[in-house]
Amino acid sequence: MNSASMTSNRRTVSLVSLGLSLLLCGCGDAPKARFSWSKETDDLTPMANAWVKRAVLQNFGTPNELVAWERLPVEYGGFAGTVTAVETVEGGGTKLTVKRGEGTTAPASARQLLWKSGARVDEAEPDGVASIVAGETESTVLMAQRLDPVPDVGDEFVLNPGNRLLDGRRSYLKNCMHCHGVAGDGAGPTARYLNPLPRDFRRGVMKFTSTRPGERVSRDDLARTIRDGIPGTYMPSFLLMAPEEMTAVIEYVRWLSMRGEFEKRLNDELKDFSRTAIAEQGKNARLEYEAAVKNDPDAERPPTADELATRAEEDFRGMAEDLEFVFVDAGDLMAGPWERADATDNIITPSIARVADTPESREKGRVLYLSQKTKCYTCHGSTGKGDGPATEDFWAITGSSETYPERGLHDEWGHLVPPRDLTRGQYRGGRRPIDVFRRLYAGIKGTPMPAFGGTGLTDEEIWHLVNYVMAMPFEGPSTTTANPSPTVATSR
């Protein structure tokens, strides 16, 4: 072989390898996905920040490795029940006869088997389940290899633990993540093009619920929102989604909300360790010093920023023992309301049927609408156009002495939220009378729309308002302003 052909050979080889490496460009392991941290977490001092992150990661994991925290009222899925018989099959396998738990059905195949022997949890080899024969009440699970240790009769088992959460994650990443973000932070790639913005689940608050004032969203509420969409926003209807998929995605959304809420609760507990709080402390100390130094030139100098930061870290270290409680408390305080959300007595049911939609009822509603008792008109405007005087005010930021820089109402997420134009006939939370009733009864959670139910107004009064409000799109604006009744004239 002469040198010329060798060069050309070498060139061919290098061209081919270049081509191959170009082809494989971008292959390999995908980057690990992560749940974003909230602004508040990022604002914590290094130690507090690390602790919050560790606590959240430990209990919720990452998008790739979800953690099912048993303390939470989440149905993680899987086929659970008790072992009723154990047999060793010839050829080395183990055959389990199992009784299924309530509300679960045996899968056709399984990737994971866990069982609880006393206090110990054992796990079968991955993919060790050879076959499953589902029966009416008892099913048999055949393992390819002999189980070691062998489960006892009466042990609790679960096949495919966390299956629902995993299905939910798949569906969420396909259908929801684009707007709502991986962590449910409402900051997905599409979010910046949307107005109104997608919901940030991380406060555990959803606007449109059927539950009592201040209560969490129920599964049925989430199902309704997913099925019907939210007119007037970018939330579309997922009517054609398979029921199991919807159940799974609802569970995942609840779980994501809890993850965010847990993080928020820890942040609230550790507020004093945020950089903002420390800066505020420093500022106050400086002001105090400036005041004191006028009388006493030898007044103690205020601590520097570095000193304050060091002191915060020391304080945090001193708190180490209490942290365990903070964490457990946060979990328990959070679990209760979520658990309660689906209870029947937590769903608002009017004590009386809808008051007949007569002109008299609407008139009563109109008077209420314009009264000082409800002050509906201050935000929604006397004609219902959503242009009440309150939209011209500068509103205070919740939990702060400052006001928002722009005029108008803001929601808990800090976004400008115009009061609904009631003459348009567009109802984001549903247009059934009961939906409007519940909006008035429990308010719109996370927004300045207050709850009138129970204390402020009687159910009958709410129905009058419902009748009035639902008639608004069909009546000219003149009916509300042309002949203000004496009550209205004085109340304004």
Binding site: Y234, S237, L239, I347, P350, R431, R432, P433
Partner: protein, 267 residues
């Protein structure tokens, strides 16, 4: 020899194309669903399609046979025989202009009825009823029906019934929808009925059809309308007259649910 090779390439290519068309229906590569149009106007549109397909098939076969023949003969011809140039043959040109012209004109006249009855108000079926207003928006279909026993009007009424992504119609009766869009252009497309109509901002476009078989059919958007275009899908449910009436009544009741009475309905 080389000439014969090319003859075979061209002939085999044409034969393969024909064969692929012939077996396509058996592999579900033809029209969606059963392959049959499930609306009266759809059946007429399919008929036109097949007429055109036959004309095209005849032309396709004729052209390819002629091409194959010419190539084959040319390949057999000894190389010393001179080629004949027929360029500028007026008779030939007139013939191949007039024949397609006549065919096109015939097709244009033949399809006029279908076009008129689908698109022109004067030719709509006499007993047609507008049953729903379909408003497309990014990325769903919002639908408004009149209350049971009422007629749909252009303006919303307090007793209207609303659904989303779920259009229900009675079968064996010409029905129309009033098509609108809230934002950009969309297109109302029910492939199994062969019904497709663009929705234009600011316009209210009537679209009529008569479904011939009860069932659930895909309703999709056929106009690229934004990033979520692909997920803008709903369903069209065709019901018998009684089922439709029963459904509308139920939907009306659900719509005016006051949360008291037989309790919360989850659907």
């Amino acid at each position: 020899m080389e000439g014969r090779f090319w003859t075979l390439v061209f002939v085999i290519f044409a034969a393969a194309a024909l064969a692929a068309c012939a077996v396509a229906p058996a592999y579900q590569l033809w029209f969606p669903g059963s392959g049959e149009a499930l609306s009266t106007i759809g059946a007429r549109i399919d008929h036109l399609f097949y007429v055109i397909l036959v004309v095209i098939a005849v032309v396709f076969v004729g052209v390819n046979v002629a091409l194959g023949y010419v190539l084959w003969r040319g390949a057999k011809q000894p190389s010393e025989v001179k080629a004949v140039y027929s360029h500028g043959n007026q008779t030939l040109e007139v013939v191949w202009t007039v024949i397609p012209g006549v065919i096109l004109l015939a097709l244009a006249l033949y399809q006029m009825d279908v076009w008129a009855s689908f698109r022109m108000r004067e030719f709509y079926p006499q007993d047609m009823r507008t049953i729903a207003e379909v408003t497309a928006r990014q990325f769903e279909w919002r639908i408004r029906y009149a209350a049971p026993d009422k007629t749909l009007e252009a303006d919303p009424h307090p007793d209207d019934v609303y659904t989303v992504n779920d259009l229900r119609v009675p079968v064996n009766r010409p029905v129309a929808i009033s098509l609108r869009t809230e934002d950009v252009q969309h297109a109302f497309f029910v492939p199994e009925l062969r019904i497709k109509q663009d929705a234009l901002p600011g316009k209210r476009i009537p679209v009529w059809f008569e479904v011939t078989r009860p069932g659930t059919y895909d309703l999709v958007c056929a106009e690229l309308c934004g990033w979520g275009h692909y997920k803008m899908k709903g369903r069209l449910v065709a019901l018998s007259e009684e089922d439709y009436a029963a459904w509308l009544k139920q939907a009306f009741e659900d719509q005016f649910d006051d949360g008291v009475g037989e309790g919360e309905k989850s659907d």
